[in-house]
Symmetry: D2
Subunit: 345 residues, 4 copies
């Protein structure tokens, strides 16, 4: 049994980590940290976890945490994880950071979009934890920068094309839509029910922090610097994320060719499902699961390829992918603890 | 491995049965019947079941069905199950009927509220499958009338009180609220999104078919004929059911006494959670699970006890309870295949 | 043109007052107070009011406010209105308080459920502004305690019965359901979208502050002290409120008798619509309007009469009724500025 | 008073026409046609219109209809309007068709995307009723093809740019999102509450019928043949439509330049609101109103201009625009009957 600690256990991502890991046949939660709910059991904080919820939330004490765990999940706001990760690594622990602090290769990019970084020397050992693409590196990593939710949809949606000769790598547009849980558990007028139900809006247009993260990973895959256009939208639903990606297809390329490419690229991947041509993904069919569904369509008229990518933002977009990373790091079967369907309707 | 057949596999309850049973460690789905989707795999009908969905939906052929299965779940409209159940029983199969055809003791009551019954001779061997209350009979039953969703909330909510001397057995009011999935997958103007979202209504006031079902079971528990008032409401959410039950409490009885009674009554029940006094249940904390949460409150001023009972209407209110019944019938651990938390948020 | 001021203009009720009054043919908003948005135009605060929104929000300055207005609406948390109302009255202004500070006849009751009152000497001149029942007193009032939303549904739903001999006045249960906007614009985990969408719960059972308000008014109408049981529930929709009221009907009384009583009682009321027997109200059909729809049903079996009462909580339950009160106070046609249908779907 | 008839009065668009026109100070509904609800009053069909609802729905009788009306709104499925429009025109009536039958200039395009047209000779007299752009022609028209909802957002969003030299006219992508009411009142599994709530999907990718309609109008405005990419998505909300439009901006063009262009272009338009740079529209702020809000953003990094366009699909996208067309045709003040804000929250 892998001994697991979670810091930031009482946010939405933290709660999902607890839910997934309490049911994981080869992991055991041995330490939970929550400053806001210190002293409460996790079952009091999250009544749905009642029967699995005797473990008590602690204040952060890195010493005690390190003593009781082999791997620690950090589900914290960016900036807060950097030092904790460093301390845990120094004690020989493995760290999976679900925030942005260890997702970047380039200090300047991180500091432009976020804040000053105190541990840039760790960048070189951090692995970007998109499991399907970086599996080999993850196996031996001690520090994982778990991908953002939008980047997960975008990168999985685009990866097969980047080395192909089927599309142009300019003029790529990623129009993304997210359920409200992606904004977290912190209170905000924009996520107050009467304000965000029965409405629809784009936000942070041209300046969302997931844009440089997407560009970094696409550039590495393509082997050249890539720029994309990215627009996130807030949708009145709790879970689910869907990205509609537009690319210029090269003359003469058919939808079947593209489909074959995707099928081959993902043929051994348990959690990526390439749908038949003409079938489009829908967030409801991945909600509650770790799957990413990919659909393809072609507008011959305007020579545009559309790739549509759907995930549950809290699972494949956060906690589920983090557990998948843990499975890879500890040489467990990759789907362990994650091999069940979502809930419908 | 118990060999299982499901008739009516492509409605919401059928879909939940497939989902629960594909993941059940001691059951195996060997036959699926769906007239509407004959020839399709269950994964095509329900994309969320894609990875578990190779089994093909068949037309009903009782012979073939009986040959391949030990127990058959019937998730059909009332009236349709009666003869199929009889044929399967005649072939020595066990039957769990999720409709109303075998829930009643009294032919006249059934025929008043439903239609003419063709197999009333089976009434005496059918057991009302409310697991927590009828476990002993269920163990040896061949035919289960799986309870309706509203009755599950009402009966579990009231059972501890009926033999106690703490409340009056008249003037009981059950004000129930249900998510829209309870109305099934059939199309109807009342469940068309723009008509039933952002609104609230009572329906079938004083004439819902679950009223006699509730009265029958309460009367048996109380040992006297009981009449209740029952009003169902439709709520703009997919899953979840909550009943607010009002009773006149006897003079001098305290909330603590009532709470102790409930705790003792349900102390060995895995799926019934009696909340602390002052804590009220919420459907979100049982959604996606087989739990029934019960909360208690007292209005001293008007001498009313309120019992609030919450379930997931498709799980404890239908498919989950049916699987729980199967577990009891086949002497499996009762929580098997059902022992996980719901999903939050 | 009546010159109108609004204090607390940027909450939900305040926003509705602005919307209704900008369009009122015989009123003119001359002063808006909002501490949180001082200096902003109301069109910046509420983009839907953009074309009507040039008026600038001010800090509270009772002097200036009194100078520019004839009547002032106070849409403030309880406790905050008491002194402002007193100051405005002293300057000869009329005041419509949408909070609870002037709804009570009895100081002890107010102070038990709320806080210490600084202006109890004003109780005797304050009129409870339920327009249909207190119209004569409202005509000459200077200070209106505008009813709470739950009390509006309950009192309009019960008023015709209280002097009749058709029902018992004990054992009355009011099971109420409210959309989330009723909780106001202040941030709260309970109204954070992922927490309150797709769920259902009762809250403040037996201790909601609208209970004594309902009891006070019912007692006055009945001419005897009445106790009721009241349970509010939170429903995942923005607007709308529905109360299901249960009473014991006297032997032999028919639904037609009750229906006739209601029709006669409300025959001259523009804003109360008594539905035909068998037709039940639904919040969607009053949302966006000042109407209260009343439906009646009888469960002969248990001798229970059900009265179902539906309003838009922000309009007939708050801002609309306040405008209706203003119309009465200033001798305008009562439906002026309120005579349009809601929006469907 | 303009005498108005509505054919197809009991769908969502028909219901909105009735609501808007009953309150229009210079119009009077004199004839309602509904095959499905013949003999019922409109107040019985739509309880929110109760107080305005005495008019009885008739079967279609063109003779009687023409006799009682000056202008007829046709809110019918495509194909059904063509002959009725011809008959009414022959009797000297004005016709506003809310379907697609008279939106196209080119018979072949119509017949490729829809069905065989029986009255192509009327194409030359039909005017595409996008009020802001075709006002002069509408003034004297007898036959209006009222625009589709998606085209309204797209064309209003793009019109200012098409004659400018600020953007390229290739590579235009229109990613649109619609509430469920856009799919109409007909029953469909895709709009069944449990299937379309809490989910998100694209549909008809590359083959939605609004694509050629958008292309036709953009081509006329640009003076050259234009091709666009258009992807509609279904959003779990009742009303509202938002299009996110992507264009390649020419080198050196600033957001301020674009903003100035939009402000000038729409400076005299009551119903088009150009938001300040950096402010993005949201459907909630136009819901329930006839406004179209336009927001602009620039991604300097990828040289993409984003135009975001929001309407209420049933009002500016259908019934409201039709009434606006009527106002223009009958020389009434253009905002008459439409000059009120939407409802928030």
């Amino acid at each position: 049994m892998v001994k697991v600690g979670i810091v930031g256990a009482t946010g939405y991502v933290g709660g999902e980590l607890v839910r997934l890991l309490t049911r994981h046949p080869q992991a055991e939660i041995t330490y939970l940290v929550s400053e806001s709910y210190e002293g409460k059991t996790i079952g009091e904080v999250f009544p749905h976890l009642h029967n699995w919820g005797n473990i008590v939330c602690q204040k952060l004490d890195v010493e005690a945490l390190a003593e009781k765990t082999e791997v620690v999940f950090l589900a914290l706001p960016h900036g807060v994880s950097m030092d904790i990760a460093a301390q845990l690594l120094a004690k020989g622990k493995k760290v999976i950071d679900l925030g942005a602090d260890y997702r970047f290769d380039n200090l300047a990019v991180y500091e432009k979009w976020y804040i000053k970084h105190t541990q840039p020397q760790l960048f070189s050992q951090a692995v970007y934890g998109l499991c399907e693409l970086n599996r080999e590196k993850i196996k031996t990593a001690n520090l994982i920068g778990n991908p953002g939710c939008y980047p997960t949809t975008a990168i999985l949606g685009l990866a097969p094309l980047l080395k192909s000769d089927l599309v142009e790598l300019t003029n790529i547009i990623i129009d993304s839509k997210s359920g409200v849980s992606g904004a977290g558990r912190g209170l905000n007028l924009g996520t107050h029910f009467p304000e965000c139900n029965e409405t629809l809006k784009a936000y942070n247009v041209g300046k969302h922090r997931h844009k440089p993260e997407i560009e970094q990973e696409l550039s590495k895959l393509a082997g050249e610097e890539m720029k994309i256009t990215f627009t996130p939208h807030l949708i009145p639903m709790i879970r689910g994320m869907l990205s509609t990606i537009y690319l210029n297809i090269k003359p003469g390329v058919t939808l079947e060719q593209v489909h074959r490419l995707y099928q081959e690229f993902y043929q051994d991947e348990y959690f990526v499902r390439v749908l038949k041509p003409g079938v489009l993904p829908e967030t409801k069919f991945v909600a509650g699961s770790n799957f990413c569904d990919l659909g393809l369509a072609l507008d011959q008229d305007s020579n545009k390829l559309m790739v549509i990518s759907a995930i549950d933002n809290l699972i494949k977009g956060a906690a589920g992918q983090a557990v998948q990373n843990m499975n890879i790091m500890f040489d467990l079967a990759e789907p362990r603890g994650l091999d069940y369907p979502g809930i419908f309707p």
